[in-house]
């Protein structure tokens, strides 16, 4: 039963009559990495937020290690045990850290909440986590505004790893970074997954990232899964026209925006007729 680290079944959510997520199902093996790909309005961010409990699904189930977490958390014990199952890294490094809390404090806070540690043990663990993401004592004393975007995202990563989650939800975690910095963070993420066996759900709009970060991919369009499978297969032999459109849309030599525009219109008419 507990073969999967994360199992999602038939997840559904609407906001004021507008369906955002419509019957999304997937599963993630322990230490696996799944990319959830889609454009704005595809429901990818809503899905991520439901996984960590920031939104309640209208229907469907979310299980981590076999334990259900679809209903609202009742009581401190449930809240804490859920926090040790899933953690999240957000997109905007400039808004995801409390501007008044130093880097060291930021990483110590979850340690204090979740583990009975002496202050010395806690400091040691904090330094270990910061070192893991490539930050040293100089950064530890700083407030977030002294750090660059990449450094802040490292802090957010260390903070998320502090509760030792089984799965990390990365919600466009590198989208706001410069390309040269994004690659550093991707490298770091791969290294952490190899060493710790944490699983990733990589929410992104950037198909070019997928093959480098995920074993499997899930393509969302207007709240529904239109295609899923191993990254290498989906990227080389996409079956759904929307996946093909997404692939063609990535700029590269020989890119033909006019054709993509035509394909997109064709797809829009098609989906209008079918619904």
């Amino acid at each position: 039963m507990t073969e999967y680290a994360l199992e999602v079944e038939n997840l559904r959510k609407s906001f004021g009559g507008q369906v955002a997520v419509d019957g999304v199902s997937f599963s993630l093996p322990p230490g696996g990495s799944l990319a959830v790909v889609g454009e704005s309005g595809s429901g990818k961010t809503t899905t991520a937020r439901m996984l960590v409990g920031l939104e309640r699904p209208d229907a469907g189930r979310i299980r981590v290690g076999g334990r259900d977490r679809s209903a609202a958390a009742r009581g401190r014990a449930t809240r804490l045990s859920r926090a040790r199952e899933l953690q999240m890294v957000f997109q905007d490094p400039y808004l995801s850290l409390d501007p008044r809390v130093s880097v060291a404090q930021c990483v110590e806070e979850p340690l204090r909440l979740h583990f009975a540690m002496s202050p010395r043990e806690r400091r040691a663990r904090r330094d270990e986590l910061l070192a893991r993401v490539g930050l040293g004592g100089r950064e530890a004393d700083a407030l977030p505004r002294r750090l660059s975007g990449g450094q802040r995202q490292r802090v957010a990563l260390a903070r998320a790893l502090a509760t030792e989650p089984k799965v990390l939800i990365l919600d466009e975690a590198t989208a706001a970074l410069d390309v040269s910095i994004q690659a550093q963070i991707l490298d770091l993420l791969a290294e952490i997954r190899r060493e710790s066996g944490v699983g990733y759900v990589f929410v992104t709009h950037n198909l070019a990232l997928v093959r480098h970060v995920a074993d499997d991919v899930l393509v969302l369009h207007q709240g529904r899964v239109v295609e899923s499978g191993p990254s290498s297969r989906v990227l080389t032999a996409p079956e759904h026209p929307y996946t093909r459109l997404l692939l063609h849309s990535v700029p590269r030599p020989g890119w033909d925006p006019a054709r993509i525009a035509a394909d997109r219109r064709a797809l829009a008419t098609e989906s209008k007729e079918s619904s």
């Binding site: 926090a83 999240m88 409390d98």
Partner: protein, 287 residues
Amino acid sequence: MTALPLHRRGFLAPLARVAGGDKLVTAALAVLTVLTVAAVLAPLIAPHDPDAVDLSATLSGSTPDHLLGADQSGRDVLSRLIFGARTGLLGPLVVVLVSTVLGTLIGVSAAWHGGAVDAVLSRAMELVFSFPALLLAIILVAVLGPGPTAPVIAMSVAYAPYVGRLARSVALREKGRPYIQAYQVQGWSGWMICVGHLLPNIAPLVLAQSAINFGYALMDLAALSFLGLGVQPPAADWGAMINDGSQALLQGAMLPALAPGAAIVITVVAFSTVGESIADRVARRER
């Protein structure tokens, strides 16, 4: 502002630092410091007893003995102005403290819980908004009797929604930011997140609003005293002094009414300046 040159750089330098080098804000902070010191040390620095009657000086205008003259009853205007700063500042201070605590509590609860809690609290704030503050004060005076208590309670209630509305909107914005959500995902309780992270981050903006409110509350309370509903004679109070002095105006003596009027205007402007500068600074930091 003639008081300024009397103070040497030693006094202004720290204020200028707090004001971030802005001359207007430095001046405003200086005014507020002078006022506070005057209010606290009133018995020591006032040249006369505020209630002492010197009939020979009645409506005298400015003389070496009475710098701002004396009023109709022969009381020293400067001394009454200095003692008036006590009630003049204490009343709004209580109003601002109570309305800030109340408003923040309501605003943050509404923003955090949303849904029905938000609807009820927001409607309640609108209800108080739609009720004129002065009318509320007059009703309370009728119930509790004259004196400063009823106006201060009325203003505390009336000002709470101003703070509440602001606190709700900034708390709502802050709650939507990922750092607050990161704490939720970490498993902290809503209470701990609000007290530990949300409140400290919205505090500067709320305080800016409260500083501006201070000026307005001072004006409202002075108006109530002017109408005879607030501080009762013979106690020195700026609003009541304008009322007393208004009859002297007819006899050609400007100072008894003009001096407290000017004191009110300068104080209100000073508080507004400080409040605006706090708000500006927060806005700059946000960018």
